[in-house]
């Protein structure tokens, strides 16, 4: 099949009724269903709204499992599953204290696949938090947050925060004991913020305590505001990957360069990659060679690339199907937890937040301000400025590169401490938050 089948040859009578199906197909798709030539394969990516997130060709090493472990895409796929299951659940949910809990019971007992969808939504939410965290670790440990990708890292940090907030707002909706008290504790933490803390809590809850207003507000945040924000930022996040020159990869030795209008000069290794142009280009460059502006981060030697169709897309489909299958299995065999109906008079003992907040809760048990606001705030701030602090070049796209040992170990120790606190909070804390041995 060739391009001529896409653009009809002149001698064919295009107005005949027999040609109608083909014309309809061509009106919808600009490339053949099964592309066989390199050009068709490029077109099926670049002319498709959903696929053109990819370039027509991708770096071969991008597709290697160890490069990214697919964590960013898995996060996106989990979000997609959450949107679909979440929208379906919305058809049966009522954000009111008298009804919310009953609706949970109805989902389990009176709605076909209701319990399954709720479980899939719940476990996917946990999976998304975990995957986004792991993605953050991958990016840092491969130095992929460094210039010129600093801004995309900053967006990523905000995506993590939105993911956590999405999870937090979703937590209240079942209106069971866990929901009620996790949100009571969580919003009280917010009230420790200096000066504006009480105001933030009041605005979040719409009242002095968790109640009708809080449920409605959290519902709106959970189903409209935060998913919208997340979708927008995810779009920017993916767009920036390409604008920043694709995934971070190890630097090649500096080549001889050609600056238009000058004699070839030896290039210092410190010059940013986008300032370097090869003396004998392995590929042709467009206008970006001629204008004195920041251009996409192109490599200086012939890149080892493969076509996105089918190399990247087939792997992504496989990744999605594996993820969906795994989450479905979990959802089939494990019900979504549901405790007693919310009782504002009696907190459960111990009252625990979801696992990803238990490190926070553990710190909060020592000091509400430092544990809930001070230390988390400093950590987020540190994350936001990390790519700007780490100015020395090198180590991009390499796991645990020696030149970045200090940064990597600082990161690992911080994550280790957080993991340790989470473990203490989840397993070793019993009644009255006293230390206990679980076995």
């Amino acid at each position: 099949m060739s391009i001529h089948q896409v653009v009809a040859p002149a001698n064919q009578d295009d107005s005949s009724l027999r040609a109608l199906p083909q014309r309809v197909y061509r009106a919808l798709f600009r490339s053949p269903a099964i592309p066989r030539t390199e050009l068709d394969r490029s077109q099926s990516v670049s002319a498709n709204f959903f696929f053109h997130i990819h370039s027509a060709k991708v770096q071969e090493r991008t597709l290697k499992f160890r490069t990214t472990m697919g964590l960013g895409l898995l996060s996106l796929f989990t979000f997609a599953i959450l949107v679909v299951t979440g929208v379906l659940l919305m058809f049966y949910y009522v954000p009111a204290p008298e009804q919310a809990y009953q609706r949970m019971l109805d989902l389990r007992g009176a709605v076909v696949f209701g319990g399954f969808l709720r479980a899939l939504h719940r476990w996917s939410a946990h999976a998304m938090v975990a995957l986004v965290l792991l993605h953050l670790c991958r990016v840092f440990l491969t130095g992929a947050h460094k210039a010129p990708r600093e801004f995309n890292w900053v967006i990523g940090v905000f995506l993590l925060l939105i993911t956590l907030f999405l999870s937090f707002t979703g937590y209240l909706l079942p209106w069971d004991q866990l929901a009620y008290w996790a949100i009571t504790v969580g919003t009280s933490i917010a009230s420790y913020a200096p000066v504006v803390g009480q105001q933030i809590r009041f605005m979040l809850l719409g009242d002095d305590a968790v109640g009708r207003e809080a449920l409605l507000r959290f519902y709106v945040l959970h189903v409209a505001v935060l998913p919208g924000l997340l979708t927008t930022l995810v779009g920017v996040h993916f767009w920036r990957i390409r604008k920043d020159g694709g995934l971070a990869r190890p630097r090649l030795p500096p080549p001889e360069v050609f600056v238009p209008g000058t004699k070839p000069v030896a290039q210092s290794p410190d010059a940013p990659a986008h300032d370097r142009f090869p003396l004998k280009p392995g590929k042709t460059y467009g206008l970006m060679c001629l204008v004195p502006a920041r251009s996409p981060n192109t490599e200086t030697e012939q890149e080892k690339t493969v076509q996105s169709w089918p190399a990247a897309l087939s792997r992504e489909l496989l990744l999605f199907l594996l993820l969906l299958a795994a989450l479905c299995l979990v959802a089939i065999y494990f019900h979504a937890p549901l405790e007693e109906p919310a009782n504002p008079l009696h907190p459960p003992n111990p009252a625990k937040a979801p696992w990803y907040f238990l490190g926070l809760q553990e710190m909060v048990s020592y000091s509400a301000f430092w544990g809930g606001i001070g230390i988390p705030g400093l950590l987020v701030l540190l994350a936001l400025v990390a790519p700007f602090l780490e100015r020395k070049k090198g180590g991009e796209g390499v796991w645990m590169d020696h030149s970045r040992a200090a940064a990597n170990w600082t990161f690992l120790i911080l994550m280790g401490v957080l993991g340790f606190l989470t473990l203490i909070g989840s397993v070793f804390r019993g009644e009255n938050w006293a230390l206990m041995v679980p076995w």
Binding site: G206, H346, P347, P350, S365
Partner: protein, 161 residues
Amino acid sequence: MTTTTHHPGAIESPERRHFFGWLTGGALAVYAASTAALSFLFLRPRVTYGPPTRVPIGKPEAFASGNQVVFPEAKLVVRRQDSRFAAISTVCTHLGCIVNPSDTGFDCPCHGSTYDDRGQVTGGPAPRGLAWYRIVQLPNGELVVDKHDVVEADTFLELRA
């Protein structure tokens, strides 16, 4: 900044352009800021639907001296010592859990804060003691706790016999 346009009649005035540029930007910024402020006012409730903060607790005769009665819905306990009455909050000052009365005072189940009999912190992360509320007596003799009126610890309402 240099202007390179040379249309006949065009006024070459970079300052003027600058001025109108800033004016436009400033107007848009004011517009955005006022929209944000109005949204904030909109989202900040003026009426809340939670439980009332003035809680009628009944006649003084209903309480036995030396006893402590828990009002779970109002999240407080009422004490009577002879003719003196006091109301103490059962909302933990740490993160808002409900404390349980215990032999030593009050214990919080969430993060292990402990309070003595007067509501003063004896352990755990709680930053301050439990709140004491003012109690007033209505003309018909009924007692009312005003949860918006936090008083110092050991403030009792003294009733004349």
